[in-house]
Amino acid sequence: MIVTHTLPPELIRIVTSVVVVVGFTFLNVLLLGYAERKLSARIMRRFGPMEVGPHGILQLVVDGVKLLAKQFVVPRASAGLLFRIAPLLAFMPVALSFIVIPFSSRLQVRDMDTGLVFMLTVMSLNTVAILVAGWTSNSKYSLFGAIRSVAQSVAYEIPMLLSLLSVVFMANTLSMKGIVLAQSPVWYVVLQPVAFLIYFVAGMAETNRAPFDLPEAESELTAGFHTEYSGMGFSLFILAEYTNMFFVCSLAVVLFFGGWSGPPLPYMEYTGIIWFSLKVYLLLFVMIWIRWTFPRVRFDQLLNFCWMYLIPFSLVNLLLTAVVVKL
C-alpha cells in the first residue's frame, strides 16, 4: 500500500467521505424522487413515470440531465451574487450533516460529543438559505415564501428541540453514537412516543413538506422562494429538500428507533447500515404517504397547532421525563 505511506490516512478518510457523501446525496435524491412520483401515482391510482427505462426508473436521471443542461437565469432586478450563492447555501448543510450520522457502529465520519446539536444547527441553516433566496430574488412570491419559511421555522424549532431534549435526558449524552448505544434494550420510541410524534410533525414542517409546504405553496405563491430559480440553482434546492428529508428521518431513527440495531448480521459493524437504511426509508415512505394524503394547512392553523398543542405537550413531556429520570 504505497498510497497509505505517501498520504496521511486522515486525508484519505476525508476524501473518501466527501466522495461517498456527494455520491450518496444524488443517489438518495434519485431514489426518493422516483419513490415520491411512483407512490403519489399509486395513491391516485395512476402509473406514474413509465416511459423512460423499465417502469420509468431512469426518469429522474433524465430529469437531472435536463436540469443540468438548462440555463441558470439571473433576473436583472435580483441581487446577483447573493442570488447565486443561495442555492449553494441550501446545499452546503447537506454535506455537513453527513459527518455525524452513525450509519453503523463503524460507518461514521466523526463521532462528536455534541453531534446532535451540530446536526440540528446545520439543518436549521436551510432556513437561512431560503431567506436569502427569497429576499434576493426581488419578487413578491419569493419574498412571501421566505417570510413564511422563517415564521414556520421559528415556531417549529422549539417543539422539535424540546422533544429531542427529553431523549437526551434519558440517554445522558449528545453524541449520536452514544444515543444509539443507550437504547440497547428498548428503543426510545416505546419510552417516548409523544416526543417522537412531536418530532416527526415538527420535522415535516422543518423540511417544508406538505401539509406544511407553505413556503412553496404553488396555489398562492407560484413556487414560493424558488420561483425565480432555474436550471441547477433550482435543482440544488430540490436536492437540499430531499436530503433534508433524509436527515430528519435518519435523526428520528438514531434517536427513537435504535439506529443500526436489529437482528444480527455477519460483519455487524458495517452491515448495520442495512437496518439503518431500512428504518430510514420506512419513515420516508410515511412522509411521502402523509404528503399525498393531507391538504396544505392555512398559515394561522399551522402556527396555532404549534403554539397551542406541540409546545405545551413537549414541555409537559420534558418535565415528566426530567422527573422520571431524576427518580
Binding site: R42, I43, M44, W289, I290, W292, T293, F294, Y309
Partner: protein, 146 residues
C-alpha cells in the same frame, strides 16, 4: 379545556382515517389506460365521422343517392356523386365526399337518410398533418373496410 382535547382527538382520528383511505387506494388496481399500447372499447353512443353502413344481405352500401343528406347538411360538407348506368335501376353511387374539416357531427344526415345507409363510426384517432387528410370519401372507406 375539554374542547382543547376534543379537537386534538377528533383531529388526530380524522388524520388516521385519511391515511387509511390513501393506503387502501395504493393497493387497488391502477385505472390509467396506457393509450397507444392499450385501448378500451368506445361507447356505442360515440359520434365519430359518418360512414356508409354495409348491408349484410347485398354486401354493399344502401345509398340510393337521394341527396337528402347533402341538402340537409347545415355545414354543407357532404357531396354525393352518382351516375345513371345502363341496366341498373336508379342511380349508382360513385363517390360520397365528406369534408370532415367542416362537419359538426350534428347527425342530421344520419337521421334523414330514408334507407339508414349512414351511421356514426367509432373512429377516434383523428390526427393528421394536412387538412386534405380530413376530406374523406366514404365510399372508398367502405371498400377499404372490405
Amino acid at each position: 379545556m375539554s374542547r382543547y382535547f376534543t379537537l386534538l382527538f377528533t383531529g388526530a382520528k380524522s388524520l388516521l382515517v385519511g391515511m387509511g383511505v390513501t393506503l387502501r387506494e395504493m393497493f387497488k388496481p391502477v385505472v390509467t389506460v396506457q393509450y397507444p399500447r392499450e385501448k378500451i372499447d368506445i361507447t356505442p353512443n360515440f359520434r365519430g365521422h359518418t360512414e356508409l353502413v354495409r348491408d349484410p344481405e347485398s354486401g354493399t352500401h344502401r345509398c340510393i343517392s337521394c341527396k337528402l343528406c347533402q341538402l340537409d347538411c347545415p355545414s354543407g360538407c357532404i357531396t354525393v356523386n352518382s351516375e345513371k348506368r345502363e341496366g341498373v335501376k336508379g342511380l349508382v353511387l360513385v363517390g360520397y365526399r365528406l369534408d370532415f374539416t367542416k362537419c359538426s357531427l350534428c347527425g342530421i344526415c344520419v337521421e334523414v337518410c330514408p334507407t339508414d345507409a349512414l351511421a356514426f363510426s367509432q373512429e377516434y384517432e383523428l390526427a393528421g398533418f394536412t387538412s386534405d387528410e380530413f376530406r374523406y370519401d366514404l365510399l372508398t372507406f367502405l371498400e377499404e373496410r372490405g
